[in-house]
């Protein structure tokens, strides 16, 4: 481990160090720059001053020579002027004139003192206040020299010979004072001139103060370059001119101070903006890098703060720092993913541990030698063995011994080949009880492929197995009767076919449908129906061999499968026995009940070679049996198949007909004999099939009744007829009533009365205008229910007509009990009158009977005038038949009725007036 080595060292951030170093380097830079600038500046000044001083020295050397020459020339010039005045020749008399001459020279004379002496050296004349000399103070042979007065004033003396008249040639000396004024006028700006004589300053261009300062220095100073040049010839070293050339500064002190401050500041700023700014920026980046590392150390993953710090460290740069930032980002990602993996692994381990511990499946883990290492709680709960009971032992202690050695050999073989095995095993619990379990065994290998463990998981499937068997049973059997259902039947039928095909035997399929079972169900209730079905099932099972199968397809349909049927005779014998057996009374809740069955038979291989075909053909044969009068059996033939198909198609079309509005009502008038007028009409349904054309009622009404579609069709008929008759009545055309034929299905329906009441209410038709026609057989199917329904209809005010009277029992007791208003003589009796004596007698008796019980009589099927006349004579109330009028659509009848009212009625017996129809 590498520890934090710097833990005891004082903390000093890079930013601080960078700042200090930058400030130090800036300061050093500024100092060095300032110092070097100062030295360069001083050197330049000194060099400039040196050159200037040299120039000045050369200049003043020339200037002094020129001055000497001027003074000398002036002396000679003045000498000439004096000689011209000849004032010196008359010296005594012209002294005042000479003085005046000198005075008027004014400032044009340059000398301060003039002395004229004779050849003998005696003073002749002098002028000027400066001196008062008796003789010229320089040698007789000298033309120029220096004279230092007692006052300290120095004079440059020029001596020229001058004519004194009779005294001969004397000497005239001109004294030019070397004073401040002279040097002031000589000095150029900035230059200080100091004249010295014998080393003593005698004049300064800056005046008295200059003289005082000159005493203290005559050499170079820091700000002055001093040059000295000899003045005059000969004794040149005595008099010298010092030239103080101040080092000419280029800048004032303020400018220097400003420059000294400004240049380092500007340079410093430049340095700052070039190096410092960059350095501080990168320092901040490094600091951000450090912060990122701290963030990474704290969270071990990429966080928003880490991203922000790394972004600051990158700072949109591509350099080493950004490389490190990228590396940290990658490290964070890596750390995060490793951490995630570790946590996922931990979570996975915890999960597996929890799964292991809380699994509802028992788990046992064995080592490579198949010794149990561990088991979970579910194992203990399922087997009763605690971990201490089994750990270190072979799992065979769980074995019940029910599985043979082959079983285990196969199991180990598959396990070794595939690495896993699954299957049912019956083992024994610690308490000795057996249980069936579903066992999964997996082999676990290490990375090198070596076997390390066996993992076994299992659950108790005893209950599951039982449920499964129960479900299988339910899936194959009818719950009501316990008989095999269609599924199992088909399975067995297929098996039987397969077996029969190999054994060249026949298979008989007997398709049974109880006759009128629907009536039982509807009238006696489903409970009775169910009891009936159970009883039938039991009776069927009692009738067949164990090798045969009795199945229930649903409803009242049963199949008897004769697996090894010998031939048609055997099958017919069985079929006959079944029909006979079922015809025996059945005890339903203490009541004997008679039920018949219709049976269709198909035989393999003649009627089909598969189960579906055999069933379909048996079904068709069963319909044929029903159509043949029920309670019988029929063998399948090809025609049954076609008619069955037609019937199926017709049933499908019938279901759509009402929806597609394909039904229509035709109305056949009923003539009131007494009034010779149409007093009523019978509504007759017609089906205008889109493909088959007009389908007669006897083609579809039975089918409608079988399929119970008659309920909906009948409701449509009643409602349509009611609306039509009401419409006619509103137009003043209407017949007195409209008669509608009922079906037994309607009559037995519990909802029928409610339907009628709704129609009456919705249409508003008078109940007296409605008449329902029914037959004796309809009532006899369920007399009690039918009578109740009829009575209720009567209570509503609806007329009832007993149709087809005379064809059935025509029981007088029924006639008495039925609440009918009218009886309709069946057409079979009318056809024979008046020729057939029997028919005529029967009709005569029916009419007499009706009259005796005050019932109206309608004779239908009147086709001849003889029939009409005969019946009129017998007192028949109403006549109906083609002679009167054929059934016709509503529109046609409306035209007929309208025409009758206008006297153009083409009825055989013309109506008196439409109003008369209703008068009765």
């Amino acid at each position: 481990m590498v520890g934090p080595k710097t833990i005891n060292l004082p903390r000093s951030s890079i930013a601080r160090q960078a700042g200090l170093r930058l400030i130090f380097s800036l300061g050093l830079f500024v100092v060095l720059l300032g110092y070097s600038s100062y030295k360069l500046y001083s050197l330049a000044l000194q060099k400039s001053a040196l050159e200037r001083a040299e120039d000045m020295a050369a200049f003043y050397d020339t200037r002094l020579r020129q001055l000497d020459r001027d003074w000398e020339l002036q002396a000679r010039d003045f000498k000439v002027r004096l000689e011209v005045t000849r004032l010196l020749e008359q010296r005594q008399s012209s002294l005042s004139n000479l003085q005046a001459f000198m005075t008027v020279q004014g400032t044009s004379r340059r000398f301060q003192y003039m002395l004229i002496q004779s050849r003998s050296g005696k003073k002749v004349f002098d002028f000027g206040l400066a001196l008062n000399l008796e003789r010229i103070p320089i040698g007789d042979q000298l033309e120029s020299g220096w004279y230092l007065a007692g006052s300290g004033n120095l004079y440059r003396v020029f001596v020229v010979p001058i004519w004194l008249g009779e005294a001969g040639t004397g000497r005239m000396a001109m004294f030019y004072e070397i004073d401040n004024s002279l040097l002031f006028n000589l000095a150029t700006p900035g230059i200080v001139l100091t004249a010295t004589h014998d080393g003593r300053p005698v004049a300064s261009s800056v005046g008295q103060s200059g003289l005082e300062q000159a005493r203290f220095h005559s050499a170079d100073t820091v700000d002055t370059e001093v040059r000295k040049i000899p003045w005059g010839t000969g004794n040149s070293e005595k008099t010298q001119l010092f030239i103080d050339a101040p080092i000419k500064v280029l800048f004032t002190t303020t400018e220097l101070a400003l420059g000294a401050a400004l240049i380092p500041v500007v340079d410093g700023l430049i340095l700052w903006f070039t190096l410092g700014f960059w350095l501080m920026r990168n320092t901040r980046r490094i600091r951000a890098l450090g912060g990122a590392i701290d963030e990474l150390a704290a969270h071990h993953q990429s966080t928003f703060a880490l991203g922000a710090k790394l972004e600051r460290a990158r700072d949109e740069q591509s350099d080493e720092v950004s490389d490190v930032a990228d590396a940290i980002a990658e490290m964070a990602e890596l750390s995060w993913s490793r951490d995630l993996e570790r946590r996922e692994e931990e979570a996975q381990r915890r999960l597996w541990a929890m799964v292991f511990a809380s699994s509802s499946e028992a788990i046992l883990i064995c080592d490579r030698d198949n010794n149990i290492l561990t088991v979970n709680d579910a194992f203990t709960q399922l087997t009763g063995y605690a971990p201490g009971d089994v750990i270190g032992k072979n799992p065979r202690i769980l074995s019940s011994g029910r599985e043979g050695a082959e079983f285990y050999a196969a199991m180990w073989k598959q396990l070794e080949q595939q690495g896993h095995w699954s299957g049912e095993v019956q083992d024994r619990r610690k308490d000795g009880s057996l249980y069936l379990k579903w066992l999964n065994i997996s082999m676990v290998h290490d990375e090198q492929g070596g076997l390390t463990n066996f993992v076994g998981t299992f659950r108790d499937i005893t209950a599951h197995k039982q449920n499964e068997e129960r479900l299988t049973y339910l899936a194959n059997h009818d719950t009501l009767t316990g008989l095999p259902n269609r599924h199992l039947l088909l399975d067995r039928l297929e098996s039987a076919i397969g077996l029969a095909s190999r054994s060249k035997q026949a298979v008989g399929v007997l398709f049974l449908d109880l006759d009128n079972f629907k009536w039982v169900n509807d009238s006696l209730g489903h409970t009775s129906g169910d009891k009936l079905l159970v009883a039938v099932a039991q009776r069927l099972k009692d009738m067949v061999r164990t090798s045969d199968t009795v199945a229930r397809l649903g409803g009242d349909e049963f199949i008897v499968l004769l697996a090894q049927a010998g031939g048609d005779a055997d099958i017919s014998q069985v079929a006959g026995k079944i029909i006979a057996a079922l015809a025996q009374p059945l005890d339903l809740s203490g009541y004997d009940f008679h039920v018949t069955t219709s049976m269709g038979i198909s035989i393999y291989p003649g009627d089909g070679d598969d189960a579906a075909t055999l069933l379909k053909h048996a079904d068709a044969a069963m319909y044929a049996a029903k159509a043949s009068g029920k309670n019988q059996y029929r063998y399948f033939d090809a025609t049954m198949n076609r008619s069955a198909m037609e019937r199926i198609e017709l049933e499908q079309d019938l279901r759509l007909a009402l929806k597609n509005n394909e039904f229509e009502l035709h109305y056949q008038p009923q003539l009131c004999v007494a009034r010779n007028a149409i007093c009523g009409v019978e509504a007759l349904i017609r089906w205008r099939h889109p493909r088959l054309g007009m389908v007669p009622p006897d083609k579809f009404i039975p089918l409608a009744e079988e399929t119970s579609l008659i309920i909906d069709i009948g409701e449509w008929v009643i409602e349509t007829a009611c609306r039509q008759v009401l419409e006619w009545q509103k137009q003043g055309l209407g017949p007195r009533r409209v008669a509608v034929n009922l079906s037994a299905i309607q009559l037995e329906s519990e909802a029928f009365i409610g339907t009628v009441e709704r129609i009456l209410e919705e249409t508003g038709v008078p109940t007296a205008a409605v008449e329902f026609e029914l037959t004796e057989s309809m009532v006899l199917r369920n007399p009690q229910r039918s009578l109740a329904t009829l009575n209720r209809l009567r209570e509503l005010g609806i007329s009832l007509a007993l149709d087809d009277f005379g064809t059935g029992y025509s029981s007088l007791s029924y006639l008495k009990r039925l609440p009918v208003n009218t009886i309709k003589i069946d057409r079979t009796f009318v056809e024979g009158v008046p020729e057939d004596e029997d028919d005529s007698q029967i009709v005569r008796m029916i009419i007499a009977l009706a009259k005796s019980v005050r019932l109206e009589v309608v004779a239908e099927g009147i086709e001849t005038a003889e029939q009409r006349n005969f019946l009129k004579e017998l007192g028949c109330d109403f006549l109906q038949g083609y002679l009167i009028a054929r059934p016709m659509p509503a529109a046609a009848l409306q035209e007929l009725l309208a025409a009758s009212g206008k006297g153009v009625c083409n009825l055989p017996n013309r109506c008196q007036s439409p109003a008369d129809w209703c008068r009765a």
């Binding site: 005075t103 008027v104 005046g207 103060s209």
Partner: protein
């Protein structure tokens, strides 16, 4: 310390000669060296050319120098009244009765310089012009400002008239060599002159002296004031004695002038505002045609911090 002044023993500048005579310089701890010149303009030239740190000159001459670029400042008055006498050679007494008669004559004035016209020249030209004499009709020559110079011009006949100083004029007149044609002490003369009561002899220094060596200036002013006060408190004889005038004629003339012009000197060394106004008027009058001189305010070249002011 060097002071340049006309003289020696020119009455108007006598207080300068008296300073070392009464040891006023030594009392101030300095040794005063006097550079005598032939005129105030020359003294001022010594001042500006650093031969002297101070000068005494007529203040119109100071103003003339300043107008021509000289950096000079008046720091203390010396005279209280201008003492100028326009004297004419006795030999011309019949010819010259009035100033206008000087036309065609030679007139001596105190020696001027290129940059400064002496007060005597300014006064002479003013008088000549006021009497209608074209300056082109006279020859003006330097006459110096000492007895030797001025007397030599009169005696030799080098000049016909001289705008001279006292006591030289009175001495020449007493010797019969000259007669006075105009005298500023004579009201008849002053009536003709605007600002005739101008400030004449004035202690002057350079601007750099005022700025750089105010203590030296202060000492100079104190010495001058002491001299003036000494004169005011002593008799002419004491003055003359202290000046150690040995020549009897000179002594007599000096005594005469001191007595005659008892109010010649400022007695307190303070600038008089009214006199300064007179001086300004005089200078502007004499400098007509010179715009720079005309616009020069006298107060701009006066520094009375050491001497003081009065009305």
């Amino acid at each position: 310390m060097v002071i340049s002044s006309p003289g020696p023993r020119n009455l108007s500048y006598l207080p300068v000669d008296l300073i070392p005579a009464i040891d006023a310089d030594r009392e101030e701890g300095v040794s005063l060296q006097i550079l005598h010149t032939g005129g105030g303009a020359v003294a001022l030239n010594n001042l500006v050319t650093r031969n002297a740190d101070f000068a005494v000159a007529g203040f119109p001459a100071v103003m003339s120098l300043d107008a021509n670029g000289g950096d000079v400042i008046g720091i203390a008055p010396v005279d209280d009244a201008p003492l100028f006498v326009l004297m004419v050679r006795s030999g011309l007494k019949r010819q010259v009765k009035r100033i206008a008669d000087l036309r065609g004559k030679v007139v001596g004035v105190n020696t001027s310089t290129k940059n400064s016209k002496t007060t005597s020249q300014q006064l002479a030209e003013l008088l000549l012009k006021s009497d209608g004499v074209d300056l082109e009709m006279v020859r003006i020559v330097p006459a110096g400002q000492s007895w030797v110079e001025q007397s030599s011009l009169m005696i030799s006949g080098t000049a016909d008239a001289v705008m001279g100083d006292e006591p030289f004029a009175s001495r020449l007149a007493a010797e019969g060599k000259v007669f006075f044609l105009a005298n500023l002490a004579d009201p008849a003369t002053t009536r003709k002159i605007a600002g005739a009561n101008f400030l004449h002899a004035t202690l002057t220094t350079r601007g750099d002296m005022v700025r750089n060596e105010p203590r030296k200036v202060e000492k100079m002013v104190r010495m001058m004031v002491k001299s003036l006060k000494w004169i005011a408190t002593h008799t002419p004889e004491e003055v003359v004695d202290r000046l150690k005038v040995t020549d009897s004629e000179e002594r007599a003339s000096l005594l005469l002038a001191l007595k005659k012009y008892s109010h010649a000197f400022s007695h307190d060394g303070k600038f008089s505002s009214s006199q300064l106004r007179e001086t300004e008027t005089f200078f502007h009058k004499t400098s007509e045609g010179n715009p720079k001189a005309q616009s020069l305010p006298i107060e701009s070249i006066i520094d009375a911090r050491w001497s003081g002011r009065k009305q």
